[in-house]
């Protein structure tokens, strides 16, 4: 995979690293400053979700290429008990329980694609993507790159 960045999340200070890495990767991939901030904020939320609810997990970020667009995908995984009702968690968070549950729905609003899956026994995976449409010059470069690669 290209531009793989992995941040282990074990304490709140790892969120600082996760935010910085997300922003740096978004900048390297040509995202605008605003989009880089949206991505870094969303990554911070899902990382905090790990720290608060499970205590330990990791976030992997990488580039995905499609025909006319590039995406930054961030995947948060943990081996916690999972989420009982994903739809409910996404709909309102656990805002009633001390206000710490805005994370998932908030992160979803900041990204283009957002998916939560839970393992059969344990574990939660949050996969979220921000897309950037390539401009003409970039498309040209992509085609050259593909041609050279063949």
């Amino acid at each position: 995979m290209e531009h793989d960045v992995v941040v282990d999340i074990t304490s709140d200070s790892d969120l600082v690293t996760a935010r910085a890495e997300a922003r740096a990767l978004a900048a390297r991939l040509g995202f605008s400053r605003t989009d880089a901030t949206l991505v870094a904020t969303a990554v911070s939320e899902i990382a905090r979700n790990i720290v608060v609810h499970v205590g330990r997990g990791r976030i992997a970020m990488r580039l995905v290429r499609e025909d006319r667009r590039h995406g930054l995908v961030a995947i948060a995984t943990d081996e916690g008990p999972g989420i009982q009702d994903v739809e409910a968690a996404l709909a309102r968070g656990n805002a009633a329980r001390g206000g710490l549950g805005l994370g998932l729905p908030g992160a979803r609003r900041l990204m283009d694609e957002f998916e939560v899956t839970c393992g059969p026994e344990r574990g939660t995976t949050v996969t979220m993507t921000k897309w950037r449409v390539l401009d003409e010059l970039e498309l040209l470069r992509e085609r050259r790159r593909d041609a050279a690669g063949r």
């Binding site: 969120l15 600082v16 935010r19 400053r33 901030t37 904020t41 939320e45 908030g106 609003r109 900041l110």
Partner: protein, 124 residues
């Protein structure tokens, strides 16, 4: 030091110097609450322009900071929220209306000064 807190006249000016962990933010909040009393400050200006990301926890911490400062008899103004950070906060759909904000230090001083003259809170 990740936050510099300086006294200027009746106000405390707290400049966040770099991204803070959750724990550092809470420590900062507590120290500020303590110094408002110790230094008998009337206003607190918190400069967040060094923050690349204000997520829900940071936003809520700023809100509780403002509420605590108010209970301690002073008024807090947040300055320097960057444009991209403002966009993220709006998309996030957090209700930050209770937070008093200004573009920069000068404006924040004006906000605090006006309030002292009027003896009330704008738009309350």
């Amino acid at each position: 030091m990740t936050v510099a807190i300086l006294r200027q006249g009746d106000d405390l000016i707290a400049s966040i110097q770099s991204d803070l962990s959750d724990r550092e933010i809470l420590t900062f909040r507590d120290e500020l609450a303590e110094r408002v009393g110790r230094e008998r400050a009337r206003g607190v200006i918190v400069d967040v322009s060094a923050l690349d990301v204000i997520d829900s926890f940071v936003a809520r911490s700023l809100q509780s900071l403002a509420a605590i400062v108010r209970l301690r008899g002073a008024e807090a103004v947040i300055v320097g929220i960057r444009p991209d950070v403002a966009i993220a906060l709006v998309q996030f759909n957090l209700d930050l209306r209770p937070l008093k904000t200004a573009l920069d230090l000068e404006e924040a001083r004006a906000v605090l000064g006006r309030e002292t003259l009027r003896g009330g809170v704008d738009g309350a």
